[in-house]
Amino acid sequence: MSLTSLDATLWLAFVWLAIGGAGFLAPRNYFYIARVLFPLGALVGLLLAGVALDAVFHEPVSRVLPLGLPDLPFHARMDALSAFFLLLTGSVAAGISVFAGGYFRHGEQGTLPGLLCFYYHVFLASMALVLVADDAYFFMVAWESMALSSFFLVTTDHRHAEIRRAGYLYLLIAHVGAMAILMCFGALQGGTGSYQFDAMRAVQPGPVWGTVAFLLALFGFGAKAGLLPLHVWLPEAHPAAPSPVSALMSAVMLKTAVYGLLRVTFDLIGSPVWWWGVIALSIGLASALFGIVFAAVQTDMKRLLAYSSIENIGLIASGFGLTILFRGFSMGPLAALALTATLYHCINHAFFKSLLFLATGSVLHSTKERSLGKLGGLIHRMPWVAWLSLVGTLAIAGLPPLNGFVSEWLLLQAFLFTPGLPHAYLNMLVPVAAGLIALTAALSGYVMVKFYGVVFLGQPREAKLAEVQDAGLWKRAGLLWLAGGCVALGLFPLTVIGLIDEVTRPLTGFGIAGQSAASGWLYLVPISAERASYSPLLFLLVTSLLIAIAWLGVRLFYHGRMRRSAAWDCGFPYLDSRMQDTAQGFGQPVRQVFEQYFRVEQTVPSPFDPKPRYAETASDPLWHWLYLPFARGIMRATGLVTVLQRGRISVYLIYSFVTLLALLLFVR
């Protein structure tokens, strides 16, 4: 009896739970929790990634656990799709956990470190279990445990009302989403009454039930992923949570939603209809654009990253929609291309977003400041964090030769094939959608310059920033691991695609790595060499060579003389840090261009104001158009119902009387 990868995964998840439980042994001992348990958790993550890496290349294995409902015990299954996402989970979690070992050094206010350790590892374990669950019940249990544990993590510092509010909003939307997912499974069981995924795979749902299931899945998983219009929790919850948790949520938890979408659409439903793709694509594009435009006007660095997560999830959803489109028209290889781009972006986003969240965590930890308007110049005081987050910044902006570029490149390549769609309108409109992707990518560059420039460059905006310390060794190690991941994923796309191939082949019947491998190990060739190719390694090599030559050349032919002096600034002598652009100022052009999409509230001082103050908030219009009216509607409806209970006993007796009479007449 050999240990299968599935068993190993389940055991590792269990070890995570055990580590969480071990936190209760000495709940106040920071050293024990941060320096022993968290690194252990990281090790488990690493092992999990190893197991998953192996499992990607193997046949699916499944087993039944002696837990769960009497007639529906927990079924677990490991196939390439699960393994891929487990790989993502394990590898990212390893970095985040190492970082957390340094982050929770002083402990978060409001919650015991032991408790925090418990939530954290339960969160990790439940994410791993979501990925291997093979029946609706197990899936839902893991899914909701994930929501609950992350809710507690978000509300770690629950003494602030806005954090509590964020946690509430988060859990509420997660719960509503979970209900939709539950209904989706209900629609999928197709009257068999069996809630095992195997049974759902075997049943071919009719077009109506299939559509219902897909839309419910899109709603449910979209709520977790933060797709429009269910994104509102994301920019609230991410800033509220401690940074390693934001990182974990953004990097891994959002991906479990993507996993769920892929699982339901391509595995359980099995035969998607093309127009589902149009829906997913539209929502994805809307989310992407919305997310990045809002990211541009944020003044809180974690909110900014949260909106950027919405953008990235939007891109992933676009890729997903494109995959359905191709799949629906039986264009297998192109579906594989789009799916590869989607999955690639998933893992990329996991790495660079967690890197950046952890970087903000370091900054927050050192400066106690989250607002962009009070940071600046940290590259001098925190060089490690600054340089490592530069990698993340460049990656998330989709710049070569880092990883973000590869997946966006693949996605755009996939878009360029859409004129071949056998549908009159789609083949015209979808290629144009590529323009929106391009706009989003360019805007993300804008946002990232703002983020990096305001936080790390320029002069410190507050005096206290002069004393901040750089991140400690544990944090550096975590950041280094993730930054290394960004670089490696960017430089060796062929290896990654080889992995992803194992996933796309069962789901779409095709893979793109074979084609690529035929063109040599150096080049990424998704379809054919004439069509497009990209070699990040060569790219990096030549760029570095050119930099080296330029530098050496200058040194060789001229000199290296240098003199430090005050900044010139066009000769203006009274330069101070307040003259730099603020975060608001930097976002102003975007705000102006997209003005009608924001709800902007400005207070502009009069020209004669002795102490002029300028305030501006750009809030989410969807909140005002959708959520508030909905909540008001519910309250109004419930208000009507309360009329039923006014305290008079005669009236209550009338209710009983009338009910009795009505039923008696009914039974006649």
Partner: protein
């Protein structure tokens, strides 16, 4: 046989003893001891039924099968843990001067009496005695609800008495009608009211009379279950009585009333089967309607609550509605789920009331706006409330999710129209309850220390059982539920 006598005798003797010594310092311990004795008897009885199967005892007036023995075990268990909780709780109330010595005597005595009446309802084979005992259960609790003698508690008790009394009078009419038809087949006398006999001849009972009778029973016992629109006594009674009583009302009495309804449903279904046209049986349709209405209306009320106990009372209405709906759907899975949900709701809701009781004592008020930051001053109370709330809202891995999962998935398969309504209502109540509990548990505190240490063992015992049932149902328990579900059909 012996166990049965013991099971009923223990609380009865307890009631008498405590009627005499209920005000003494050790009364609470005596109360616990009698509850523990009852629990032991229930355990032995359960053990016996599991081994030997159903049994008819004591001149056929009592019988146990897997359906009621599980409720007996649950009732004895929750009554026991509640007595544990009530020990410090009532002491604190006494110390705060809310209860007099006489009040304590009444409380302890009636507590045992209440256990007794519920156990009689559950174990009796005689549908008439069932009615008598259920009415007696109302009578024993009505004084407890008025224990504090405040305006509000008197009002609540009055409403409780009148509404339940009137309601249960309808149930008597229904019982008379059942007797009216069964007497024709079984002959006059006690035999015609024995459930086992009725069950044997249910196919021959006159369908017209049975459906008429079921309407009366539905309205009658439904009032006690707290089904909308017959529920109006419930939130008042839960909110104004002492918290241990709220816990047993919510956790046990509602179950017991529902149990009575189920027994009649089995017979009615049997009687109407011959005449039915193959559609949904009449009784099932009625129960589904009431269940659905209760869930929806309770969800609406939930979102407007200010009093914490009142809110959880509405939550009980909601869950009772859900269980009624499940039994209404029928079939092995739904009935199984209904029974499981009964168990879990009982355990969870009583645990919540335990936590709520201490929370309210700490804050000195039941108004949710004034209870803040429980986590800070007494983390265990805060956690009890938080986890209990998470459990009752159907968050996995707690067991309530398991039963809700089964009920909802069956609803999707069998009554697809109802599933979205149920889910929407559950969503609204989630938003309502969680939104109110969270600020109470988290944040800066307003609470103060209590004169006696709170009893939180019951809370966490219940919650760990609920947690276990969410992840793992022991095989014997599952078999037991299955058998019981088969009895319900």
């Amino acid at each position: 046989m012996g166990e049965m006598t013991f099971l009923l005798a223990s609380p009865l003797v307890g009631a008498v003893v405590l009627a005499l010594f209920g005000h003494r310092r050790y009364a609470a311990e005596v109360n616990v001891a009698f509850s523990a004795l009852t629990l032991v008897a229930a355990a032995v009885l359960t053990e016996k039924v599991i081994e030997d199967g159903p049994a008819i005892l004591l001149w056929e007036q009592f019988f146990v099968d897997s359906l009621n023995v599980f409720l007996v075990a649950l009732t004895a268990f929750v009554a026991m843990t509640t007595s544990l909780f009530s020990r410090p709780y009532m002491r604190i109330e006494h110390a705060h001067g809310k209860v007099t010595d006489a009040g304590l005597r009444l409380y302890h005595s009636m507590y045992q009496m209440f256990s007794f009446t519920m156990l009689v309802v559950l174990t009796t084979n005689n549908l008439g005695i069932m009615w008598v005992a259920l009415e007696a259960a109302t009578l024993t609790t009505v004084l407890l609800i008025a224990l504090y003698r405040t305006h509000a508690s008197l009002e609540a008790a009055w409403k409780y008495f009148i509404l339940c009394g009137v309601g249960i009078a309808q149930a008597l009419f229904g019982t008379i009608l059942v007797y009216f038809t069964s007497e024709k087949i079984l002959g006059p006398g006690v035999g015609a009211l024995l459930w086992t006999h009725l069950d044997a001849v249910k196919g021959q009972l006159e369908p017209t009379v049975m459906s008429l009778a079921f309407v009366f029973l539905m309205v009658g016992y439904g009032t006690k279950v707290g089904l909308v629109p017959l529920h109006n006594w419930l939130p008042d009674a839960h909110a104004e009585g002492p918290t241990p009583i709220s816990a047993v009302l919510s956790g046990l009495l509602l179950n017991v009333a529902l149990y009575a309804l189920i027994r009649f449903k089995v017979i009615t279904d049997g009687a109407l089967l011959a005449a039915s046209d193959g559609g949904i049986p009449f009784a099932s349709r009625l129960m589904m309607g009431f269940g659905l209405l209760s869930v929806v209306v309770a969800a609406c009320f939930l979102s407007r609550q200010k009093d914490i106990k009142r809110m959880f009372a509405y939550s009980s209405i909601e869950h009772m509605g859900l269980i009624t709906f499940a039994f209404g759907m029928g079939g092995p899975v739904a009935s199984f789920a209904g029974l499981l949900h009964m168990t879990l709701h009982s355990l969870t809701k009583s645990a919540i009331f335990f936590a709520v009781g201490h929370a309210a004592q700490k804050a000195g008020t039941q108004m949710m706006d004034e209870i803040r930051g429980l986590m800070q001053i007494n983390p265990t109370v805060g956690w009890g409330l938080m986890l209990g709330t998470a459990a009752i809202l159907g968050m996995p891995p707690f067991g309530v999710f398991a039963s809700e999962f089964l009920i909802l998935t069956t609803a999707i398969a069998q009554q697809p129209w109802a599933a979205p309504i149920l889910l929407f209502a559950l969503g609204v109540s989630f938003a309502a309850i969680f939104g109110k509990v969270q600020p109470m548990v988290f944040g800066e505190t307003t609470a103060k220390r209590l004169p006696h240490p709170p009893a939180l063992v019951p809370v966490f015992t219940h919650l760990s059982l609920v947690l276990m049932l969410g992840l793992y149902t022991p095989p014997y328990l599952a078999d037991w539920y299955r058998q019981a579900a088969r009895l319900i059909g």
